[in-house]
Symmetry: C2
DNA sequence: ATTAAACTATCTACTGATAGGCAGTATTGG
DNA sequence: CCAATACTGCCTATCAGTAGATAGTTTAAT
């Protein structure tokens, strides 16, 4: 892993714990073993770092989900896959969704970061809409609404689980969500 | 309004925009027209201020909801009332739920603040559980689950609406939620 | 006279950012 | 083939601004 990648990884952990203001160049530098001035070599400004962080997070997230059609044809339920990925983020990383937390504080984010956060949600909503269209006789309007409701429930349940320090909240919230 | 109340109000706005790290004693002081040192007179430490902020927010929120039984007997649907209060917070204040945002960054909050955030959710879940028990033949287990799902959906939808800078996301998410 | 609510002044620590230097590696032109 | 050049990735040193917090003082109302 290059120093740049290490910096992004360290930043991701910090942001997922306490938001955009919860990391500093000095802190990241110390964690990966370089000086804070060198972080500016890789990312000219903090906004640049934040934007790239959100961008890569989104890309990795969508990539990990895979293709809706492929999943469906292989006999998997895309919606269950989507839910599982959120569940994994909470249970494995024990941290909030990066874009969920940043989304909540969108008002104070530099524009480039805010743009990437928006992209996370449009990408995920498009994916979910497609997933719902592979189900039952559904029109586009209904699929869109189901997509919004599903991702809202997941982000909200994640948030409350972390606030409550109790993952059973999340498990309870998603019970029976995938199977109609 | 006393200076102390003004300070709490100013802090609430700041926190609901960008989280716990988005306000400073100097900023608050400037906004209400006193010196930063004087803020320490009202709130010895930042954690004290944060905890009282969350406490009052929770109390006001529950107070504004009213009593479930009373609402039900007056012919109102408590669940619809609950949803309306969230909707109002988003549409009127144009800001995230204080405890939603703070809940997401619970890992970095001073314990006294975290405790108050937890209380917000237990209070609201209890209220909602009661509300669901006034509906149809439902057992306690089902009512608890419905409560978690409802508040998760609301918090999540709020978050995504702010991230997307588009309130129609929220309206779409809550469509048909109150009426079974 | 006591007390509440503000003040002045100051401390240490941390913030993002910049200027300029210095090795090591690639690239390129004669 | 080799010297000149440029690039990469880091460094030291430093800046102005802001953070939370404290000690001690003044003001005004009870």
């Amino acid at each position: 892993m290059t120093k740049k990648e290490e910096l992004l990884q360290a930043a991701q952990n910090k942001v997922r714990e306490g938001g955009y203001n919860n990391f500093s160049f000095r802190e990241l530098a110390k964690e990966v073993g370089i000086k804070s001035a060198s972080v500016h070599y890789h990312f000219p400004t903090k906004a640049d770092l934040g934007a790239e962080l959100a961008k890569q997070y989104t890309n990795n997230f969508i990539l990990a989900l895979g293709d809706v059609k492929t999943l469906h044809n292989a006999g998997h339920n895309p919606i269950a896959v989507f839910i599982t990925q959120f569940k994994h983020a909470l249970h494995h990383d024990k941290k909030m969704c990066l874009c969920g937390l940043l989304g909540a504080e969108a008002d104070i984010l530099p524009q480039p970061v805010r743009t990437e956060i928006k992209r996370f949600f449009t990408k995920n909503l498009d994916w979910l809409e497609q997933a719902y269209l592979y189900r039952e006789p559904t029109n586009k309007r209904q699929a869109k609404q189901s997509a919004i409701q599903t991702i809202s429930l997941l982000e909200g349940a994640m948030m409350i689980s972390i606030a409550s320090q109790d993952n059973s909240v999340f498990d309870n919230a998603i019970a029976g969500l995938a199977d109609h």
